[in-house]
């Protein structure tokens, strides 16, 4: 069955002078999904989002929302809402007036009682009940974030656009908000499109991830697909950790995830059936709780990392810096990827 994408990019390009911010991208956001756009700073994520919201017009190509071509449609007429990177709360309005802002722009204007009810519901949804009369400067970063969310979600947009919404929060709060965002998305059934440079965030929250590089979409897929079947070394390196070794052909590399490597004291004590095994020297050791991360050196392969799970440490042993050890991997763990 053909399902109409809620937002679609058709060969969208955006240039600023001689900067190619977004280059010939095609993208179809499915209704109800949680899609993340992942990529390093400056790769065109914000520009993509701004073209959806209507703050920028594509230099060429077309953006459509719910099947409608959005060329020339101003931001205030588009059925999407955005959570801005620095929240952009209105400093002269209290929380309730910030949250009800979108509803108050509608004609006919909803009645006061109706507005108050909607605001109360929206604030309850982001667990900020009772904060109606507060000013934005009286709120913590996390609370401002929630107000920004409530302000956007109260309008029931077709798509909620989130531009690095959690970047300004500390680690613990970020984790909390990630879970909260996921729950909100599931409960409301609203399509979420989140921009982030944090691969962990993208992988843990999204149904699908779209990896971008220098204005181009490199790969779109579920977190598992991206992790297990990256189409090139860029995606493999960006999504999760990866060791790259010299590949069999030019412009290729051999990629092995650190957690798929086995480590032991000698080659003999390594598990059976490995495709390859090497003698290495331990250069560094980082204790990560459930894992220990070793940086090891092989005379011809170079330096690479091995993740040794705590659970198997009784068998593999614990190594000190300078120790000799053996490392190997199963055939299925190694992938040959292109570097372009």
């Amino acid at each position: 069955m053909f399902e109409q994408p809620v937002i679609a990019f058709e060969n969208v390009t955006k240039t600023f002078g001689n900067v190619h911010a977004v280059v010939d991208n095609n993208l179809a956001v499915k209704a109800g999904e949680f899609l993340s756009i992942l990529g390093p700073s400056g790769c065109g994520k914000t520009t993509s989002l701004r073209m959806m919201a209507g703050f920028e017009q594509p230099s060429s190509g077309a953006v459509s929302i719910q099947g409608q071509n959005m060329t020339g449609v101003p931001a205030f007429l588009r059925p999407v809402n955005m959570v801005f990177q620095h929240y952009a709360l209105f400093p002269h309005l209290n929380v309730a007036d910030n949250v009800s802002y979108g509803l108050r722009q509608r004609r006919p204007k909803p009645a006061d009682a109706e507005l108050a009810k909607s605001v109360a519901d929206a604030l309850e949804m982001v667990r900020l009940s009772g904060y109606e009369k507060r000013r934005s400067y009286e709120l913590s970063g996390g609370q401002q974030q929630r107000v920004a969310l409530a302000r956007a979600l109260i309008n029931r947009p077709a798509v909620l656009l989130l531009d690095e919404p959690l970047a300004a929060l500390d680690r613990k709060l970020r984790r909390e908000m990630q879970i909260e965002l996921q729950n909100l998305q599931r409960n409301l059934g609203i399509t979420f499109l989140l921009v982030t440079h944090d691969q962990e965030e993208a992988l843990s929250m999204s149904d699908r991830v779209c990896v971008m590089r220098e204005g181009r979409i490199v790969q779109i897929g579920s977190p598992r697909e991206l992790y297990d079947k990256p189409i090139n070394s860029y995606v493999a390196g960006f999504v999760g950790k990866a060791n790259f070794f010299v590949g069999p052909k030019a412009d290729t590399v051999l990629c092995v995830r650190p957690e798929l490597l086995e480590i032991s004291a000698t080659r003999k004590t390594l598990p059976q059936g490995l495709a390859d095994a090497f003698d290495v020297t331990v250069l560094n050791r980082i204790f990560l709780g459930e894992h220990t991360e070793y940086l090891v050196r092989h005379e011809s392969l170079g330096d690479f990392t091995v993740l040794s799970p705590r659970k198997s440490e009784h068998a593999s042993g614990v190594f000190d810096i300078g120790d000799k050890a053996a490392v190997g991997w199963h055939k299925s763990a190694a992938q040959i990827l292109t570097t372009t």
């Binding site: 919201a53 101003p74 205030f76 955005m82 952009a88 209105f90 400093p91 000013r135």
Partner: protein, 286 residues
């Protein structure tokens, strides 16, 4: 502990010159005026010690100066805002940053030339050989502008525009453009965004500019003298007259004190209205 004490001493030292300045140039003269205002005029003119409220009871004798000032100063301030706001908006929003400062300088430049010169020019423009004669040429006869309240208003708007534009410009320029994007994102048309976001957030600049212009206008005597020509006179003109011509210092002192009180009361309510109502004080500070 020691540090706090040290910094407090330092603060006191740093504030001392301002404090001395304040006491000698502001508080003392006001006290002298207050004392004078209860005295009587010496036979040869000037001040003679006494304690009477006559000077205050006599204020209605200068009622015209008060009503002129209290009517025209706020009106002129409001008109100046009306003209300055679009200019400031244009400069802050529409003009590219490259030309912005140059154009702002052009707006402020007239203020650096002689005030007298500028009022003389306006006397020419508004006088019978100026605009009225041009109007006559197109068939509108007998228009009088010079020595009317209109001339004073025109002169005030022209003269004080350079003071009104910069504060409004600053408040508009520092306005976070993302707030306007957020407003549009939430379904607000551009003019709705202007009314709901831009205007309220630029009120601190309007308040600052208005206060500046209003205070200067309340005390002005050159503008009414030149363009009001003795017909439209302000409290300032009454003061010049009382202190320098009729040499009735105590009555002059009473008029001054009345002016100061009126000014403080108006400012207080004005600031409360503009800033207090929308809780702009905090916003204005950040």
């Amino acid at each position: 502990m020691n540090d706090a004490k040290h910094s407090r001493t330092l603060t006191a030292l740093l504030l001392a010159p301002a404090g001395v300045f304040f006491v000698f140039l502001l508080v003392l003269p006001l006290l002298v005026m207050l004392v004078y205002s209860f005295g009587v005029r010496a036979p040869e003119g000037g001040y003679q010690a006494a304690f009477t409220f006559d000077n205050y009871l006599n204020l209605p004798a200068r009622g015209k100066a008060f009503t002129n000032t209290l009517l025209l100063a706020p009106l002129a301030t409001a008109l100046t805002v009306l003209f300055a706001y679009p200019m400031a908006y244009f400069l802050a929003v529409k003009v590219s940053p490259r030309w912005r400062n140059a154009m702002l300088v052009l707006v402020v430049a007239p203020f650096w030339t002689s005030q007298l010169l500028r009022y003389y020019a306006w006397m020419m423009i508004l006088g019978s050989k100026g605009i009225p004669s041009w109007l006559e040429w197109i068939g509108i006869a007998d228009v009088r502008l010079l020595n009317t309240p209109y001339a004073v208003l025109i002169g005030a708007v022209y003269g004080f525009l350079p003071l009104m534009v910069p504060p409004i410009f600053v408040s508009l320029e520092k306005l976070d453009k993302r707030l306007l994007e957020a407003s549009a994102d939430l379904g607000s048309k551009p003019w709705q965004s202007f009314l709901q976001i831009t205007l309220p957030l630029s009120l601190p600049g309007v308040a600052t500019g208005s206060m500046l212009v209003f205070i200067l206008l309340m005390g002005d005597y050159i503008l009414p003298q030149f363009l009001g020509g003795g017909k439209v006179y302000f409290i300032g003109n009454a003061l010049v007259d009382l202190f320098l011509q009729s040499r009735n210092w105590p009555f002059g002192a009473a008029v001054s004190i009345a002016l100061v009180i009126i000014m403080f009361v108006t400012m207080y309510f004005y600031m409360r209205f503009v800033l207090g109502k929308t809780d702009q004080r905090r916003v204005a500070m950040v």
